[in-house]
Symmetry: C2
Subunit: 326 residues, 2 copies
């Protein structure tokens, strides 16, 4: 038997009309009374019809908070997510963050839409927002981001292992002067990839021959690569923390007349569509986007995963895709 307004009215000792008003924003009713009614309604499990239809609309909606879509990896995520949601008859709500801002700037806006689940990628989850989500019973999943200070659910490629794989390949191929172009230094993707790469080099008794920051940006990485390749005794292999930087490095090398991979080997990370373009044939670590998105959604769908709980991290291994740039 479905709970009705009548039951709530009886429990609180008011008229049915009062219950209806309690659920209507702007209706003339005492705030104290409204609170009591809302509390009683929650206890009994009564949901007003208006709220019911609103729920139906928002139930099938997953919210994605993305950073800039300039790195082609993220459109890939959006695309995959949208498709997978469509298959299960759900919708995708997208927020794009202004460059280098954190989630807080639009937290209120996001919460106002009362989403039932949020996927955050390429942006920091602040403890502020984490608390708000916990309070509102909203599930949060970090995608391609890991954050140690806030214990929330996260899905990520095994960036450490990916970094190791990249390093191992370069070592196996016998490259001696190995350089690194890093991403944005306070991101988990950057630190983990670098750590994996460094560890495997260290195990072989090697260190970086050269090192620079590329800011996860084509132009910055290209400039860094030019500089790196201009030095005497320049590296003959470079690991770039993502693909667009790797493309920048390749273009830099070509401008200097170096041939890939004969004069310089380049390896990237992500496997964006451009990596397979025949001009680049970039060797890279493929992030299993399809499966990452699947995992993120399964975390959201899993009823045993509660909104307020401390989360776990699901780590998926990437695939070394060997093309011709190494």
């Amino acid at each position: 038997m479905k709970p009705t307004a009548k039951q709530v009215a009886h429990a609180v000792g008011v008229s049915i009309a009062a219950v209806s008003r309690a659920f209507t924003p702007g209706a003339p009713i005492d705030q104290e009374k409204r609170k009591m009614i809302l509390a009683a309604a929650e206890e009994i499990g009564y949901i007003s019809p208006a709220r019911r239809t609103a729920n139906v609309v928002s139930a099938g909606t997953v919210t994605l908070v993305a950073g800039s879509l300039h790195n082609p990896f993220y459109p890939l995520v959006v695309d995959t997510l949208a498709r997978q949601l469509q298959e299960s008859d759900r919708r995708l709500l997208v927020y794009a963050l202004p460059a280098d801002s954190n989630v807080d700037t639009i937290t209120e806006q996001i919460l106002a839409a009362r989403p039932s689940a949020i996927i955050i990628t390429s942006a920091y989850l602040t403890s502020n927002m984490a608390r708000a989500c916990r309070q509102h019973q909203i599930k949060v999943v970090l995608l391609n981001r890991i954050q140690r200070d806030i214990r929330v659910n996260a899905v990520s490629c095994d960036n450490y292992q990916g970094g190791r794989d990249a390093g191992r390949l370069l070592l196996d191929r016998g490259y001696q002067r190995i350089g690194l172009i890093g991403g944005i230094s306070n991101t988990s993707t950057h630190t983990e990839r670098v750590r994996g790469f460094r560890d495997v080099l260290a195990e072989a008794g090697k260190t970086f021959h050269a090192q620079a920051s590329g800011d996860y940006n084509y132009e910055v990485a290209k400039t860094a690569a030019v500089k790196m390749l201009s030095s005497a005794n320049s590296p003959n292999a470079i690991f770039c923390c993502n693909d667009i930087m790797a493309l920048g490095a390749i273009d830099a090398a070509r401008e200097k007349g170096l041939r890939i991979p004969n004069d310089l080997a380049v390896i990237g990370f992500d496997d964006i569509p451009m990596a397979s373009w025949s001009s680049y044939c970039l060797t890279t670590i493929r992030q299993p986007v399809e499966r990452m998105v699947q995992e993120a959604l399964s975390l959201i769908d899993d009823p045993t995963v509660k909104a307020g709980d401390d989360g776990s991290t699901r780590m998926l291994s990437g695939n070394l895709i060997v093309r011709h740039s190494v």
Copy 2:
């Protein structure tokens, strides 16, 4: 006096229950009868309560139907749209169409969410869907698409003029053997750009020196360019109907040892971020994405533009961005 279900019921000659059912998805009612009721309701101006509350919820949400996000131009649109909507406290709902399918495959899904406005880009609006939207009082705006058979609102870059500008530049620079790599032939972007380009050449008494289809795809365009450049007496300038194809053409030329622009001039269309990468420095026609999105939203916000009305087309001029590929 607000229109009621009773009036509708009376007008059609059915029970009030039937009217209620007509507005409830999945309720058992004859489709013919539902249509009649919906039509009468529209005439009388009756809106079901569920629809009414749903409207409030979805009022701040704009739906975008995009094709594949593989062409970097579309992530640009998504990004811009998301930001502009955020500024006015609204949300963006994204649908991604599986490659080469039309809107019909997800029409029902889209309509089930009861959007108040839809922006369609990179996908055909079928008359089917147009009719459905008209029935549900949903505003539709085509972005970067024009369709002559269905009169709906559209915002587009002036592709014809852009094609002309491209042609003029090549003529002014004195190129004699001019080739064309087209996009997908039944899109308005393709036909208009080609038409403008062809017209300006014709006015100078010239025709295409070579012509091929690149399918709006890097690899296809690159292959086409290789073939085009292998023929005896190959073109020394190529207009590509969008930027990724132009990048393909440049890469093809370089593989054949040609230098840009000395041996081959290439001009694209869109001005995607990669066009400005220093390896390409692609000369191209910039689509004014920011303003296109603005116009699309202003069409949606303009209360004098009615959902069911025949629409108008707003044409914005593109900008010729001269870099070093011509």
